[in-house]
Structures are given as structure tokens and as C-alpha cells.
């Protein structure tokens, strides 16, 4: 069978689907090829055990670009995100911290821990919003090549400069600090309560193999201030049916514009003729031709697996080989017989929000220390979400699913034996840690799914299991993502484009790379 398309998108992750939707909407004949039996990539829901649906990898939504929601009419296609009410942290002394979304409730709870912090947190938020507001427009820019920006790049840089100039002097100083400091040092200038600092600092280390005290992590705090939900800054929410629902909504939009989606279709190689991409070869040998090929896979797959190194300039090959993946997060998904009980929790309403195992700054930094040299944290940071507290679609009535995002783990953990043993040891450490705070947990577990970074790579295809398709640190963002000179969604191969989280604005459920990638493809007249 040989069939020809205007465009082939490799990978049915949410970014690949987004790219396909925009191309199809612009009238292109588009085919999405997904390796797995279903679309979604790291934004996927699977019924791993009868009646229990797991939001297998990602679990909460905030960074999804509002323009994508509008332009692809995602609400019509099933996007339904319910905001989370609170972040709840059990402390080791039996006390708790509840960071409410409601500002009045938040102020009162923080006052219980520190009156100073109750005043400082709104000021901290004010400062962060100011910076985020000035920096946020870059989420919508195509990164220029700073060495030779060209006309459009120069305009982008000057516009960006203008945004930065809009910051007053004090805020500008804060921006400089945020670019260089560790998350914890930066937060310590504002917040005195240890457990609050621990919780706030977490945003700086998600998806990176760095600790809250590692320099450079402060910037990632800012990244989280760029999210929004229904216009509310930084608010996170849960998609009905798990984050697979987001991918399904985008897939449905893409199909409504005429895109074709083929699952169980793993691309082995991109066909290159005279420096130009002309099609793909699937595992099994089938060849499919198209004028344009876009890869929604991560940079390692995009450049090193799907192409031959001889087709690429040396410096790009070496930049991709140096690009930091080193997955540091794992996931444990549990099916539960009843709702769990946290011993420190005073109000079961907190179960509807997020529960965070990060009782102190030292706890979180210790978790990093354990994993720094390879291995996993003996007592890890865990981000717990029980979507079934509000969503009736994911488990039989009365039963629950619990999503546990875990840091830190390592890609190779040979000291624990083979891959199966590594997974078991990791899963047990997570469940043991959770049991310290939820004494009834082990009695109510019906089924479990444990994913180490290696498993994430095997299942989802993310290299070394990095959840963001490459760490989100300053040296790997904007015009460095994935490599200087190749951050504008193009590649050295003509008509071969990038549209996954390995390009700006990066990882997370954002649809940003997918949309911007599609825009560039269309701009080139492809």
C-alpha cells in the first residue's frame, strides 16, 4: 500500500495531535502515526484493571495554552477540567498544612503557621505574577537564533526586551535572582515556614534531576506561574477521565478537520532523499510518503533514532547527545477498595485536592541525595491525587484510583537487581512511605501499576523516561531547546519538523510545541 499525504505526524502524543489538528484545519491531508495501541503519549488514560482507569503518567492540567482550547474548540470535543481546591501536606509532627485555592482560607491557614508568611505569600505571588506576566509572551514566540536572528528573530528579541523593560527595577532584580538561585534559597528570602517552603520548592524540581537546593531550580518556579485555568493564574485542575481525556479531545478535534490517525504504527525511519524528508518507513517495512514530516517524539528519537547521523551536522548530533534527559520521576498508580485515610488530615475534603508528601525542606533534599548517584529515594516526594473523589468515571462506585507521582528515581538502578526487581523495590519504597502517612493504605490496595523511568521509556517512548522530553532547565529552554540554531521547529533536513515537548515551550500538557510547530510548517508553505 502506498498512499500519499501532505503531512505525516510521527507520534500521537498530545503535541503531535495538536500539530495534526492545526495542519488539518488549514486544509492539509494529514496522517498521525502512533506506535502504541492508543493515542495520548504521556497524557493517556488506560483501563489497566477491569473497571479501574489510570491516568497513567500525567495527572493534572494547567499549562494547556488557552489559545489552543479556543482555536481547536476543545471543550466541544470533551475537554473538561475541574479545578483542584487545595494542596495538603502532612507534617512529620502530626500537624498539617493546607494551601487552599481560596485566598481567604489560605491566609488563615498560613497565619496558623506563621503570621509573617501570611503577609509575605501574597507579596511573593504579586512579584511572581509580575515577572511571569512579562516573561509569559515568550511561550507564544518562535525562538530566534540569537547568533543570527534574522528579521523576524530580531523583532522577537526586541519585543521580548520591551516586555522585560516593562518590569520595574525591583522586579527585574528578582528576575535576575530567579535565573540563578536555587528554588529553596530564593523562597527562603520570602517565606520562613519550612513546610511551606518545601511545598513551594517542589515546583522547582519536577522532572529534573536536581534538588530544591541546586542552583538554577528557582527558574522552574516561574514556569509554574505561567499556567492558568479558566483565566485563573497558576491554578491546576483534573481532566474528567484522566489526562487521556485531553488527548482524546485533541484527537477528536483533529479528526473533525479530516486528520487520519493510525495506531500500532511505529515509525522506524524517516525517508530522506537529497537532504529532504519524503516519507517514513514503518516497522515491518511499509512506506508512506508525504510532503512534510513532523516528529512529535522527543529530540533523541527525532534526530538520533529516526535519522541517520550522517544526514545531520556534527554539532547537532553532539548537542542532542548532550541534551539532558536522565529521567528522575516515577509513577505508582493504585486501585483502592475504599478511600484512604491520612492520619494527620482533619477534614476529608482535602482528599479532593492534591496531597503532597514533602513534610520538610530537608526531607525533599534528602530524597534528592538518595537518588543523586543513581537509585531512588528511600523516602521520596510523592504527589498524590485521587481523581475518583470528584470524577465518577474512573472506578466502580465506592472504589478509587490513586495517582502517585514520585521523585526521585533513576533510569538505571542496578543495585536492586534486574528491571523487575528494580520496579518492585521502587514501588515498595513508595507504598511504604505513603503508609507512614496513610496507615490503612496497604489493606485497601486492589491493584497497582509501578513505572520507573525505564518503564516510562518502554511504555511511552520518552527517552530515559524524562517526563518533559528533556529537562526544563534554563540551559535547555527557549533557543536552546533542543539545540541552539534548531529551536525554530525546523531541522537540517528540509520538510522535517519538530513538534513535541523537546521544543519550545517545552514539556507538560501545553500543546504549545504542537501549535507553534504547525504554524511554522504552514509558514514555510508546506
Amino acid at each position: 500500500m502506498t498512499q500519499s499525504y501532505d503531512a505525516i505526524v510521527i507520534g500521537g502524543g498530545h503535541n503531535g495531535l495538536t500539530c495534526a489538528a492545526y495542519l488539518a484545519k488549514a486544509g492539509r491531508k494529514v496522517l498521525v502515526l502512533e506506535r502504541r495501541y492508543l493515542v495520548g503519549g504521556a497524557a493517556v488514560t488506560e483501563e489497566k484493571f477491569p473497571g479501574f482507569k489510570f491516568t497513567v503518567c500525567s495527572y493534572v492540567v494547567s499549562l494547556l495554552r488557552p489559545e489552543v482550547i479556543r482555536e481547536l474548540e476543545l471543550a466541544k470535543h470533551g475537554l473538561q477540567v475541574m479545578p483542584l481546591d487545595s494542596y495538603w501536606v502532612p507534617k512529620e509532627d502530626g500537624d498539617q498544612l493546607a494551601m487552599y485555592a481560596d485566598p481567604a482560607a489560605l491566609r488563615e491557614e498560613v497565619r496558623r503557621h506563621s503570621k509573617r508568611d501570611a503577609e509575605m505569600i501574597p507579596k511573593y505571588n504579586q512579584m511572581m505574577y509580575h515577572i511571569a506576566n512579562a516573561v509569559k509572551p515568550i511561550l507564544g514566540y518562535v525562538p530566534p537564533n540569537p547568533a543570527s536572528p534574522g528579521l523576524r528573530g530580531a523583532r522577537t528579541l526586541s519585543e521580548f526586551g520591551k516586555h522585560l523593560q516593562s518590569l520595574d527595577k525591583k522586579t527585574f532584580h528578582q528576575l535576575s535572582k530567579i535565573m540563578t538561585m536555587s528554588a529553596d534559597d530564593f523562597l527562603a528570602e520570602w517565606v520562613e515556614t519550612d513546610v511551606i517552603r518545601a511545598l513551594m520548592g517542589i515546583n522547582g524540581i519536577i522532572g529534573t534531576k536536581l534538588g530544591v537546593k541546586s542552583p538554577g531550580t528557582a527558574y522552574v518556579l516561574l514556569h509554574h506561574y505561567m499556567g492558568e485555568l479558566d483565566g485563573a493564574f497558576t491554578a491546576w485542575g483534573a481532566q474528567r477521565g484522566g489526562t487521556g481525556g485531553v488527548s482524546d479531545a485533541i484527537a477528536s478535534a483533529a479528526k473533525s478537520y479530516g486528520a487520519e490517525i493510525r495506531c500500532n504504527a511505529s515509525v522506524e525511519r524517516v525517508l530522506v532523499k537529497n537532504g529532504r524528508a519524503v516519507g517514513v518507513v514503518l516497522e515491518g517495512g511499509e512506506e508512506i510518503y508525504a510532503k512534510t514530516i513532523a516528529s512529535g517524539a522527543d529530540p533523541y528519537v527525532t534526530f538520533r533514532k529516526l535519522l541517520d547521523a550522517k544526514d545531520l551536522p556534527d554539532d547537532l548530533v553532539s548537542a542532542i547527545d548532550k541534551f539532558k534527559f536522565r529521567g528522575s520521576s516515577g509513577k505508582v498508580n493504585l486501585a483502592l477498595d475504599t478511600a484512604p485515610k491520612f492520619s494527620a488530615m482533619t477534614d476529608p475534603a482535602f482528599l479532593r485536592g492534591m496531597m503532597e508528601i514533602c513534610p520538610s525542606v530537608d526531607y525533599v533534599e534528602q530524597a534528592y541525595d538518595d537518588a543523586k548517584y543513581g537509585a531512588f529515594s528511600k523516602r521520596p516526594y510523592v504527589d498524590v491525587d485521587i481523581p475518583t473523589m470528584i470524577d465518577p468515571t474512573m472506578a466502580p462506585p465506592g472504589k478509587h484510583v490513586m495517582s502517585c507521582f514520585v521523585q526521585y528515581a533513576s533510569y538505571n538502578m542496578p543495585e536492586y537487581g534486574d528491571r523487575d526487581q528494580q520496579r518492585d523495590a521502587f514501588g515498595n519504597a513508595v507504598i511504604d512511605t505513603l503508609s507512614e502517612f496513610m496507615p490503612n493504605l496497604k489493606d485497601i490496595i486492589l491493584h497497582k501499576q509501578v513505572l520507573t523511568p525505564w518503564d516510562i521509556e518502554q511504555e511511552i517512548g520518552l527517552t530515559e523516561g524524562n517526563i518533559f522530553g528533556g529537562e526544563l532547565t534554563l540551559d535547555q529552554l527557549f533557543f536552546f531547546r533542543p539545540a541552539a540554531g534548531w529551536a525554530d521547529y525546523r531541522t537540517p533536513i528540509r520538510n522535517y519538523y519538530q513538534c513535541g515537548s523537546g521544543v519550545h515551550p517545552g514539556g507538560g500538557i501545553t500543546s504549545g510545541p504542537g501549535r507553534l510547530g504547525a504554524m511554522e510548517i504552514l509558514r514555510d508553505g508546506n
Binding site: A104, E108, R116, A118, D168
Partner: protein
């Protein structure tokens, strides 16, 4: 969930409407009856009793107490005598207002400060290097506001202190129904009135005595809906309505200075350095960008608009807080400012509005136009700049 003030057992029993809102972490009654109008009338005719315990309260004590107050507030704290109270603003470095409140001098080196927003941190940070002790006492005192023409006579029944000699913005320590209290003569209603501070364990006793004796003085417990009407009549500004705190405002354009808020009289540029002084000095020299004014809506013109729509005149039954455009012309071409809160005043039979306009339109008697929506259509209704406070009875100070 909000907490209960020390008066909650009593306010809850009387709160027929069960119409509660959150105020600084506490339950606060919007109205006691289903409708606010009796409460409003009680304040202007007899007396209203408000639970104002949620106000943030601080004690500032020590050798440098005056120095700290002077560093923070815009007025000259050294001029505040013992037993006296200042209404004052405090600003950030840019001279933008953070909050307003009262500063009471309890002793030579002892002040009590009330604020609408948490201020502990701000005081602590400004106290760097000073010999001063700052204590938050929000929970250590319940507070009541007893406001209205009969408030003095009512209060006098319950205390031995001679209230006729207690002047406006002064206070005294005494016993009320046997309970030690601090009584100050000030309030947020523009009427004769008092604020009463008592320790939490004794609060119910104070409340009971006031309510019981109050029957003869036409006292009613009153909620925030009635309070907002009377504070607008009194020309008093409300945080997050007529202005925003510079320390939490998300955008630069939301910040205002005391000069812009008509509070220039409380900025003492001559005293030693205080936070924001430099910026305020510069602003004073060049003049503020906007001026807060009282506006009186031309009700006859408003009536015409209703008649055009085949309706009888409708007046706001309670106060509103909003941001309505203000124009210099009826064609709504020249935008000159905003109206931030307003109410029909049953006691004055006037529709009064607080707003901010460009300085050239701030002169008493100037005619401007305030946007009003009638039957989903927008109209620019004439209004006149008038003196604030709108309602200023001699008994307030007398």
C-alpha cells in the same frame, strides 16, 4: 472555614437571615434581618451595633515606638497625645497606599494600630534596628462599634466614666457592665459613635448589656450591608472597593497615593523620614494624577432615562461597589475617571457616589457624567461634584 468571633454565640442567635460572609477569616453578618433597611435606619435614628472583631490589631511598645510609628504612617505620631487616636494611611516606597487604619496612643511608648489587612510583617520589617516590641493582638480583643445618635446616652447607662467629656478621636479605659473595656470615640459611619474593645472571655457580657439596655435606645445589631451604605454617606473609603493595597495589587495601575484618594491632609511632609516620603514629596509638587471626589447623581435626569424606557425611576436599594466610567460629556467621548462605590441615601434623599477623576474636574460644582445601565442600555447621567463627607451631622464631633 471561617472562625467565630468572641461575639458569635450572640450574633448567631440574632442573625435571622443567616447571611454570613467571610471577613479576615471570621464569620461576619451581612444583615441580621432578611432585609438591611431597619438596620440602616437604626444607625441614623437610634444606634447600630457592629461586631468589628475581625479588624487586625497590633500593639507596638518600647523606647522606639514613636519612631516606628513615624517611620510607617504618613501623619506625625509624635503629635498624637496619649489617649488620642489618629486615622492615618501608610504607604510603600513609591508613596502608594498600602492600607489605612487607626493608630491609638495608649501610653508614651505604647500604640495600638488597627488595619484592614495583615500588617505584622510590614511593621517588623520597618522596625529593623529599633528597640520596639510588636505584637499582633487580633485575637486578644473582641471589638464592637456602637454607632448612632443614641449611642452616647446608651453607653452612659452602662459606665461610670463621663462620656460627655470624651472628645472625637479620644479614648478611655473604663468598665462596662463590670467588664474592663477600652472605649474610643470614632467609627466608620460618620455619626456619633464609639468603638469598644474587650477581652474575648468577657465579650458576651458586654454584648448582652448593650442589647438589653439598647432596647430603650432603639439599638439594633447591624451588618455589613447597612455599614457600607453609611460609610459611603460618610465619604469613607473602602479597601478593595475605592482603592487597592499597593502591597497586593497585581497591576501598577491599581495603585493609588493618599493625594489621589483625598487623604493628602494626612500626609505630613515636614516630619522626619517616613516610608514613601520622597515619592509623596515629588507627587505633591507636581500634583496628583487623579482626585477622589464625591458625586451626586442628578436623580431627575436619571428618572428621564427610566421614563424613556417606559419605567418609573428605580434607585439602588443598597450600596454598590463597581468600576463605572465617568465622562466629561454626555456623548461618552471624553473618559475622565471612574466611580467606585455608590448608594442611595435614604437619610439625605440623594444618590451619592465616590469616584476618582482627573484633577481639572475635581472642583466642587463641576458637572460630569456617570455611566448608568437601564434596561441593558448604557446612559451617561449627569452628576455634580459635591463636598465629601456627604453626610456630616454636628453630633459626630459635638
Amino acid at each position: 472555614m471561617p472562625r467565630q468571633t468572641p461575639f458569635h454565640s450572640r450574633t448567631n442567635a440574632l442573625c435571622e437571615s443567616q447571611n454570613w460572609v467571610e471577613w479576615s477569616g471570621f464569620f461576619s453578618a451581612q444583615t441580621y434581618e432578611m432585609d438591611h433597611i431597619h438596620e440602616y435606619n437604626a444607625i441614623r435614628l437610634g444606634a447600630g451595633l457592629f461586631d468589628v472583631s475581625p479588624l487586625f490589631k497590633y500593639f507596638i511598645r518600647g523606647r522606639d515606638a514613636v519612631a516606628l510609628m513615624n517611620r510607617v504612617i504618613t501623619r506625625d505620631a509624635s503629635k498624637c497625645g496619649v489617649g488620642q487616636i489618629f486615622y492615618t494611611a501608610w504607604c510603600d516606597d513609591e508613596g502608594k497606599i498600602i492600607d489605612d487604619g487607626t493608630v491609638a496612643r495608649l501610653g508614651d511608648d505604647f500604640f495600638r494600630m488597627t488595619a484592614a489587612t495583615p500588617t505584622l510583617c510590614w511593621l517588623q520589617d520597618n522596625a529593623f534596628g529599633m528597640e520596639v516590641e510588636i505584637e499582633e493582638v487580633t485575637d486578644a480583643y473582641g471589638a464592637l462599634a456602637l454607632q448612632g445618635p443614641t449611642s452616647r446616652d446608651l453607653l452612659q447607662q452602662l459606665t461610670d466614666a463621663d462620656l460627655s467629656s470624651l472628645k472625637y478621636f479620644r479614648m478611655l479605659e473604663t468598665k462596662l457592665a463590670g467588664v474592663p473595656v477600652n472605649i474610643s470615640r470614632n467609627g466608620y459611619t460618620g455619626d456619633l459613635g464609639y468603638e469598644i474593645f474587650a477581652e474575648p472571655g468577657q465579650c458576651e457580657k458586654v454584648w448582652d448589656a448593650l442589647i438589653e439596655t439598647g432596647v430603650a435606645y432603639k439599638l439594633m445589631p447591624a451588618g455589613m450591608v447597612a455599614l457600607d451604605m453609611v460609610r459611603i454617606e460618610a465619604g469613607m473609603l473602602l479597601l478593595d472597593a475605592d482603592f487597592h493595597s499597593a502591597s497586593t495589587a497585581m497591576f501598577e495601575v491599581e495603585k493609588t497615593s493618599p493625594y489621589e484618594l483625598g487623604l493628602g491632609w494626612m500626609v505630613n511632609l515636614k516630619k522626619d523620614h517616613f516610608v514613601g516620603q520622597g515619592a509623596l514629596r515629588r507627587e505633591n509638587a507636581r500634583g496628583p494624577a487623579t482626585c477622589t471626589v464625591g458625586l451626586e447623581i442628578d436623580v431627575l435626569a436619571l428618572e428621564k432615562v427610566f421614563v424613556q424606557n417606559s419605567m418609573p425611576l428605580q434607585l439602588p436599594y443598597q450600596s454598590w461597589v463597581d468600576t463605572l466610567p465617568v465622562y466629561s460629556d454626555s456623548d461618552q467621548r471624553d473618559h475622565i475617571g471612574r466611580a467606585t462605590s455608590g448608594t442611595w441615601s435614604p437619610v439625605m434623599k440623594k444618590y451619592v457616589v465616590i469616584g476618582r477623576v482627573k484633577p481639572q474636574y475635581a472642583k466642587i460644582g463641576t458637572q460630569v457624567y456617570v455611566e448608568q445601565t437601564v434596561e441593558a442600555r448604557r446612559y451617561a447621567v449627569p452628576a455634580t461634584v459635591v463636598k465629601m463627607p456627604f453626610f456630616d451631622p454636628p453630633r459626630k464631633r459635638g
